[in-house]
């Protein structure tokens, strides 16, 4: 049960908590509620240790934790974002010029904000790069080696699957690629899982590396500012995607359903629904990070 707690916490309090659990249980098996209370407390300690909850860490750690939360949320957002990019490919060719205004505005807003977020993440990486290089020169590689190896492995597997998909797709008709469920579609699902794993493992590696860095107040402020930009952009992008869906469902529902132009299929596309749900979840997580950054910002300024 103590596995829920971070290793450093277990090293300090693990024995005592283990003894208390034994005393409380008096030889009886733990109930589900008992296990849940330990798990909840352990997760709480992990969140506190990462600066994501509580006020026991410094304002700088709290801003950093909030920025990490936003980074994780953005990593999650990239997955439905890529799905949206795929679904909306060539949308402007299936709609009349007169109906194009609203979907064009929403699509361009989403694309612009996605670009701005990507730039913000890169600027954040650049801001901490000198400290990261110093960390690596001082022998920091072993601390992040395992996570980087996982990330590289996921990237190579994704690249290999992408090549396989591209080569295979050349030998298939549009109908074979887009309908039914066969080996090609199964490989596509594997690709999506690997793509998500690549983003997740690189995010974990980035967070692990940054946690080992001794960032200055200026760097933390830059990271916090960029996190605010990304966190605010995600709900706007989600809303833009919803507006695009609504306007396309009104003007060209056949595009969403993949049916013949002029037909009247249901505008409720399952793939878009999943995309919007994931975007909403990522936006909500991002807003939690934003709250953490904003609440600690005033304290950070006084440091």
């Amino acid at each position: 049960m103590l596995r829920w707690y971070p290793a450093a916490w277990r090293a300090r309090y693990g024995d005592e908590l283990g003894a208390m659990i034994e005393d409380d249980l008096e030889g009886k098996p733990p109930t589900v509620g008992f296990r849940w209370s330990i798990a909840r407390s352990g997760m709480g300690e992990r969140l506190r240790g990462a600066g994501l909850a509580g006020d026991s860490v410094s304002p700088s750690e709290r801003v950093r934790g909030g920025a990490f939360t936003v980074l994780c949320a953005f990593a999650l957002f990239v997955i439905p974002g890529a799905g949206f990019a795929k679904i909306s490919e060539h949308w402007d060719q299936s709609i009349t010029r007169g109906s194009r205004h609203l979907p064009a505005v929403s699509f361009n807003l989403l694309a612009s904000l996605a670009g701005a977020c990507a730039v913000a993440v890169m600027l954040g990486a650049l801001a901490v790069l000198p400290t990261f290089l110093r960390f690596m020169r001082d022998g920091g590689w072993p601390a992040i080696r395992r996570r980087v190896i996982w990330a590289v492995a996921a990237t190579l597997a994704t690249a290999a699957t992408t090549v396989a998909l591209a080569v295979w797709a050349r030998h298939l008709t549009d109908h074979q690629r887009n309908t039914g469920f066969g080996w090609y579609q199964l490989l596509f699902v594997v690709f999506v899982i690997l793509f998500a794993s690549t983003i997740a493992t690189w995010s974990a590696a980035a967070i692990s590396a940054t946690r080992h860095l001794n960032l200055g107040a200026g760097q933390v402020k830059v990271a916090g500012s960029l996190a605010i930009v990304v966190a605010v952009s995600m709900p706007v992008m989600t809303a833009a995607a919803a507006v695009w869906w609504g306007s396309m469902a009104t003007a060209a529902p056949w595009f969403l359903a993949g049916t013949a132009p002029g037909s009247s299929p249901s505008p409720l596309a399952t793939n878009l629904l999943v995309v919007l749900m994931l975007m909403t979840i990522a936006s909500a997580v991002g807003l939690l990070g934003l709250l953490r950054v904003v609440r600690s910002w005033r304290l950070l300024r006084s440091v």
Binding site: W9, Y13, D15, E16, A19, M20, S37, S41
Partner: protein, 123 residues
Amino acid sequence: MARTAGTKTHRPNDPPILILTSLAGGPKHGHALSKDIQGFAGVVLGPGALYGAITRLEERGLIEPLESDDRRRPYRISAAGSAYLAEAVVNMQCLADEGARRLAMANRVSAPGRAPRIAGYPA
């Protein structure tokens, strides 16, 4: 009612207050703390909640661990912890006194046998 900036409202069933109150009676380990708190406050603090509060109290220097050969490490209240608890007790006492004073006033103006009148509500 808005809380005045810089002040802290203490609640009698907050785990840190319960732990400090228990330790004010002498050093105890986790299980003994839990039993004592259940006895005087009727609050059951599970191991997770108890050790979460102990971690925070130790970080703030309000309690101190004692040396122990056993896995059951006892804790004692520190000087800072005693001062914090004293402030909390005064704070809660003020609140209790104010509540009692207002209840007494309300009972004086209401007719015997009727519930006290609540400001803003029709009688």
